[in-house]
Symmetry: C2
Subunit: 339 residues, 2 copies
Amino acid sequence: MAASLKDVAALAGVSVKTVSNVVNGYTYVAPPTREKVERALAELDYRPNLSARNLRQGRTGVVALALPELDAPYFAELTRFVIDAATERGWTVIIEQTDGRPERERQVLEGIREQRIDGLIFSPITVGRDELADRDDSTALVLLGERIFEGPTHHVAIDNQRAAREVTEHLLSLGRTRIAAIGRQTSPNANTAHLRLAGYKEALASAGLPYDEALAPPTDSYHRRDGAEVMERLLALEEPPQAVFCFNDLLALGAQRTALARGLRIPQDVALAGFDDIEDGRYSTPTLTTVSPDKEQLARVAVEMLEQQIYGSRHTGGRPLPREVTAAHRLLVRESTSG
Amino acid sequence: MAASLKDVAALAGVSVKTVSNVVNGYTYVAPPTREKVERALAELDYRPNLSARNLRQGRTGVVALALPELDAPYFAELTRFVIDAATERGWTVIIEQTDGRPERERQVLEGIREQRIDGLIFSPITVGRDELADRDDSTALVLLGERIFEGPTHHVAIDNQRAAREVTEHLLSLGRTRIAAIGRQTSPNANTAHLRLAGYKEALASAGLPYDEALAPPTDSYHRRDGAEVMERLLALEEPPQAVFCFNDLLALGAQRTALARGLRIPQDVALAGFDDIEDGRYSTPTLTTVSPDKEQLARVAVEMLEQQIYGSRHTGGRPLPREVTAAHRLLVRESTSG
DNA sequence: GAGTACGATTACATCGTTGAAACAGCGTCG
DNA sequence: CGACGCTGTTTCAACGATGTAATCGTACTC
């Protein structure tokens, strides 16, 4: 079986605690002793038992990443960065999929998992300020990709509203005036959707154009299927749109599918823009204009914020991070708006 | 802080062990006692400390899923099913990304993680029979999507060779005789690639067609980029192919991008088939003909195989699972071969 | 009515690790 | 020279849970 400190201690002829000291890099160990212990450690291929260590230290070294669904490319790409950043700190990441269902999200917040967790990075869809405030679990928490202001919670996200405005302005700059939006949500807590809609409206208003709700049909979720279905409805309008801003790339790819299947040319007949910069959009035909959030930064900051809550600010060089961080984003113009 | 058995015991006025017995459903607890304890458990919102439980029991309840990369859609979709199946058993899944790098794969096999793990589901790319046989870690292991025969290892995969043959036969049935393959790998351990290539050759041979290596260029990896690049080379041939079988959907989507960007019509000028049935292929234009492995079955069987190794066969109803399971697959004909 | 069987509960040790504190040895300083 | 401080090492207890064995009470058997 796996070797314990006791076995190593016996082999090296020292006490268990001395071995522990060597393992943990404690300063006051005499060089000959240290060497002896290290030989024994190597010989037995010692690995610390994390269950025991965690039990003793009251920390688990495990953080959870709760997101709607792993098989949405945006979240898969983001998850890779979160795992990378966590692994650098010796943390293990477990993943909770909420499917965007309110009861699952609430369970996650209340710590449904028996598994104790040092921190939670949470990408919510339906949960709002009130649920967050009500939460009585004291586990460290960071909201990812969501901004709930005046709340008690750390969060990191890009400036969704500004990014949405920029996309819409880009579509306007093509000379299109009838611009649809796909991704509006009716739930009052769908913060991200609201911000993107606000940016869209803002750009229309600046251009002196009216906001027409018929051009911004609501969607239940953000999959290709939804984009495809809503696009059908938009194309069936008496005056179909000349451009469509989709609130994520999956919606855009669904909409693109519908438009192309109807024989429309993109961007000549209808221009198309998405949001998220998933890899699919870089290889679709036409390639997809989109907003590219700095996913690596989002992930890194989220992990740093957790780190700070868990260990206190001394750990991040004394420099306390703000509760709210705005990550970078770029507008990537591709063929679907400039073919 | 979180309540421990001790706190619950104090509140209920019984011993710690009695509370433990209630929590674990031990039979001989008097109903009034049980009720008292349960009230206390509820009042304090008791959650067992898994670190302590694991330390005592020598199991961790954690299994690792090691795969090349989470942001490849096939693996993201598969991961969702693995997590679902593991969660049903109360297990936690942690994810290791190897990026298909040999040294990372070897580390995973040797249990690089300090975190102790009850089992490992491993989707290898470069590791071969020898490395598996040399392994001295006794952790339960299941290979996923890979078949290494005569080895010591449990594995579950679809019949890659047959599926590849079926795809190629389908392309032949369209009347195409010049059929390329994208995804050949030169490494001797790239088992999956070899099997798919073998199926491709088999179908060609049955049709009396020669195997032309120029029509099966090697690829380093299986991303859209690789598919796009290799397709450039194929289209630059004196006699470009009339159909292309790509060993996964990402390669196919990359190849599709190249073909469409060159102004070719799919499938009229060149038919295209992939492998994996990722969601992208259902919404690309044209939609992508592909092999659909039963991902849910792959994941479920892999988890069952682990379960059996960890608990012994009694746990799966006495019925021991074989070491090798072939999961189902279907050929899905879509627009890219029948537009 | 003594002996036994069994239900219900508890005391205790233990899993592997680490913080606190004690201790031993040795040089330094007043 | 005795007190002190420093290095280097050990002893001990504790984290929270559970398996083992012991204990206690009651009902049942002969």
